[in-house]
Amino acid sequence: MKKVSRRALFALALAAVLAVGTLAFCVKYAANAEKWVTFSGSPHVYTGTNLTGGRIYDRSGVRILNTTDGRVYSDDEAVREATVHLLGDRYGYISAPLLGNFAEQMIGYDKITGLNEASKGTASARLTISAEVQKAALQALGSYHGAVGVYNYKTGEILCAVTSPSYDPDNIPDIAGDETGAYDGVYLNRFFDAAYTPGSIFKLVTSAAALEKSASAQTGTHTCTGKTIIGGQEIICMSSHGTLAMPEALAHSCNVYYGELAASLGKDALQAACDKLGFNGTLACDGYTARSTVDLSDADDGSVAWAGIGQYTDQITAVQFLRFMGVIANGGEAAEPYLMQKISRAGQTVYEAETKTTGRLLSEETAKALGDMMRGAVVNQYGAWQFGNLTVCAKSGTAERENGPADAMFAGFVQDEAYPLAFVVFAERGGSGSQTAAPIAAKVLAACKTMLDTPNPNG
C-alpha cells in the first residue's frame, strides 16, 4: 500500500504539468495579448480583414472614414472610389493592412479589462495621402487599370497611392456579373501588391548599375543598327539609332545599347545592383509588403541582356520603383515612403511617423548623372511643357505584352526644393509610355502642386 501510494505522485506530476502549462499560457497572454487582439481577423476588432475603430483623415484633415458606427466613408463619391483600397471595404474583399498595422494604437487595448474599456472609435488617424490628389490621379488614369504613386523623397510622406480599377463602396457595382473586364482584379491594390514587367523604365536600373561600376560608363558607346544578337537571342529596336552614349540611349530608350550594356556588365554586377536597390526583395510600408523580383541566377548572356531592358523575369512593384526614383532625386539616399502620419486618442498622440532613410544606395555622382539624363529625356523627348513650371526628370517605358497594347509606364521626380516629389505612373495596356502615362503624371503633379500651395487650415 505504501509503495502504491508513493507511486501516486505520478498523478501529481501530471497535475503539475497542467498547472505549469496553464501558468505558461498566462505568461504568453501577458506577453502577447495585444498582438492576438489586433491580429488581422480578430473578431471583436475587425470586420472581415479590416479594422473597425476610429476616424481616418487625409493629410489636409478631410475625414475619409469613420468606423465608430459601421464604416462611413467620405461624402464625395470620387474620394470614396480613390481611397477604398487604402481603407478597406465593408465585406473584407479589399484587404487594407494599413489600419490593421496600427491596430494596437487605434484600439487602445488593455490586458486587464480586455476590450471592455477600449476607446473604440475615439482614435483618429491622419494619413499622408491627399484625398484631392487621390481623386485627381484616379480620374487621370481614366479607364486604364494601373497605379499612380507620388511621395515626398525628403520626408517619406506618400501623397498619392492610387490603384485602378476601383469602385464606390457605398454603391457597389455588379462586379461578379461584369464581362467587359472593367473590374478585373478590382480588389487588388496595384500600387503595393501588383508586380509588373517594368520594360524600359528598368533601363534606369541598368544605367545605375553601370555608373556605380564605372563613372565613365556614361560616355561609352554602342552602335545600334536596329537589332543585335546577344547570347543567341535577338534584341530589336524600333529604329536604327546609330552610335550613341548613355544619355542619348536613355532618351531614345535604345534596346540594343542597353542589351549590350547589360551583357557587358555581366549578371553578377546587375544582380548586385538590383539587390542593393531593393528590386529583389520586399519593401515593408505601414502594413503592406511589396515584393519585386529580379533573379538572374539562371540567366545566360541573352537573358541578362533582356533583363537589362526590363524584360526576362523582372517583376517590379510601383511603390518600390517610386522609392528608387526618390533615391535618384535625393542624391542617392532618400526617405522611406510611409502612409500613416499620426494617430491620436483621447487627446494624446499615440503614434507619430518619423522619417527613415533608405541609407545610401547610389553614389551622389551616379544619382546626379541619372537625374541629368532623365531631365534631358524630358526636355528632348517627352516635352517639358507638359509639366508647367515644375522641373521634371523622368523616364518612360513601354512594356510589351502578349496580345494587345503594351503597358505604359512613366517614372521620375520633380527637381525642386519646394516640391520634392517622386512619382510613378503605370497604365496597363496604355500603349506608349510617353504618350499615355506622361500626361497622367502631369495631371497628378499639377494636383500635388495645387494641394501643396493651398494653405492647410488644419495644420
Binding site: 509503495k3 502504491v4 501529481l12 496553464t22 481577423g41 471583436h44
Partner: protein
Amino acid sequence: MQDALTTFFSQFEPVPWLCYLFPVLALGILIRCAVSLLTFRPEPEVWAWLTTPDGAHIPVTHWESLVGRGAGCDVQLGYPTVSRTHAVLTRYDDGSWTISDAHSKSGVFVNGKQTALSALRFGDVITMGGVNFTLIPLTKEQERIQAGTRTRAGHAVHQAPTLLLLTLFQLLTAVQLILGGCGPALELTAFGGLIALEWALYLALRAFRRTGFEAETLAFFLCTMGLAVVSSSAPESLVKELLAIVAGVCVFLVVCWSLRDLERAKAVRYLAAVAGIGLLAFNLLFGVEKFGARNWLQLGGVSFQPSEFVKVCFIYVGASTLSRLMAKRNIVLFIAYSAVICACLALMKDFGTAVIFFVAFLVIAFLRSGNFATIALAIAATGFAGVLVLRFLPYARNRFEAWGHVWDYALTTGYSQTRSMMCIASGGLFGLGPGKGWLKYVAASDTDLVFAFVSEEWGLFMAVLMVACIVILACFVVRSAPAGRSCFYTIGACAAVTVMVTQTILNVFGMADFLPLTGVTFPFVSNGGSSMVCVWGLLAFVKAADTRQNASVAIRVPHGVTPLPEEPDAEEPAADEPAPETPDAVWQRPNGKEARG
C-alpha cells in the same frame, strides 16, 4: 408567462461591475474547497494489531498491507530473519483476514503449517523468519474512539456555507445571462434545476451522515460554467445539458455504491471489462462519423459517445488489489486489454480519446508495477506507432501541420486556435460579459475551445480557476493516497483523476497551441451529454479514495460502527473512557507508525 418574464427582464441592462464579483465568489468557493481538501491530515484507520514477541502492537492500517523488513512495507518488522517483502495481509469486507506469502525466503507459517495463502483468524500464530506474530482485533471501544478521534471531513471548513456561496454564484450567473439577452425561462429552469440538484444531493448525503462535499462542490461549480457556456452557444441544448448533469449524478451515486464494497467492486470489474470492449465493438460496427471521428452512436434519437463510458469501465478493469499485485500476476492481460481499446479508438479516428486512455494506462501500469522500464517501453512502442500513423495517414498528419505555429495558418488549420487566443485577449481578465462572445460562431467551440469560450465571456481569471479545480482534485487524490484502504481504490482514484487531468491538458493546451488540437472535452464544462455523465462516474472513484471520517458515500463506515452523530466533540478524546487495552502510544500516533522503538 414567458413573455412576461422576457418583458420584465428586458427593462434592465447587464450590471457591469458584476463581472468583478464573479471571480471573487468563485475564488472564495475554490479556496474553501481547497483548504478543506488539501490541509487535512491523512489519518489511516487502524484495522487490527499485529503483536510481536516483545509485546508491541503494530497497527495494520490498510486492507492490504505488505509485511516485511523493507522500508516500503506497510507493516515493518525489524527482524533480520524476516524477508524484505515477506507477506501480504488482506482484510475483506466481512472483516475476515488472509495472509499470503510474497515470495519470501523462509516462508509463511500459520499455526505451524506453511502456506502460500491462508485464511487467518484472530489469535492465529503467524511465523515468519522464525518469529511468531499474532493478529488481534480492535476492541469495540477502540473502534469507537478511533471514529471519534479521526478528523471529520468538513470539520475545518463547513460545507453548507460553501454551497451557499456557489448557489449565490449560480443565481447571479443566471441573472447576468438573462440580462445579457438569454431567454429568462430557459435560464431559470437550467440554473434552478442545477441548484435544486446540488442541494438535494447535499441533503441526501447529510442524511447518510456524510459531510465531505468539496469534490462535488467543485464539480457543480464547473457544471455551472458549462451551463453558462451552453446558454451562450446553444441555448436549445440547455435542458439536455441539465438532464446530462442529473444523469451524471445518478451514475456517480451508482458507481459510489458499487465501490462501497470491495468484493462487489471486484465483481463489477469483469462486467466492466466486457462492457468496455462491447461498447467499442458496437460503436465500430454501427458508429456514426461526426467532426471527423467515428465515435458516435445514434440510438432512438439520442446520440452519444460510447468511448466516454468506456473510460469508467477501463478504470474498473485497471484498478487492482495489492494481493494480486504482489502475487506477481503480471499485467500482460491488462496491457492487452488497453491495446485492444486503443486500437478500437484509432480505428474510430478518435485520437484524443486514445491519448487519454494511453495516459490512464501508463498511470495504472506504473501504480501496479512501479516499473519505469515497462513504462518507457510502452511509451517507446506507442511513439513508434504514432510515427507510423503520422507517416501513412494524411488526415492525421494534417492535424499536426499547424502545431506550434498556428499564427502562420491563421485562416486554415490554425483557425480555431488563433480565434481562441484573439477572443481570450478581447475578454481580458474579466470577460466581455455573458452572451457577448464571438467564439460561439466557431465550430465545436463550446467543447474543444471551452477554456477560450469562458475566457472571452467570463474572463481569463475564471478560466484559470476552472483548471485550478481539476488540479485541486488531483492533489487531493494524491494526498489521501497514503490513508487509502485498498490499492484498488487508490489506483482507481489516481486513474480517474489522471483521466480528468489529461483531458484538461489536451483541451487547454490544444487551444493554446502547446499541443495539437485533438478535440477533447474539458471535464464538467464542455457541452456534451456523454462526457458529462462519464466524468461524474470518474468522480465516484475520487470519492472512493476519500477516507476522511464520514467523508464519502462511497466509503462504508467500518463494520459494526455507526456513523457519528452530527457534531461530535472531537476535541475531547477518550479522557473519560476506560483505558484501552493497548498502549496509548498508538493513539498518539495516528499516522500509523509502529509504536515499538
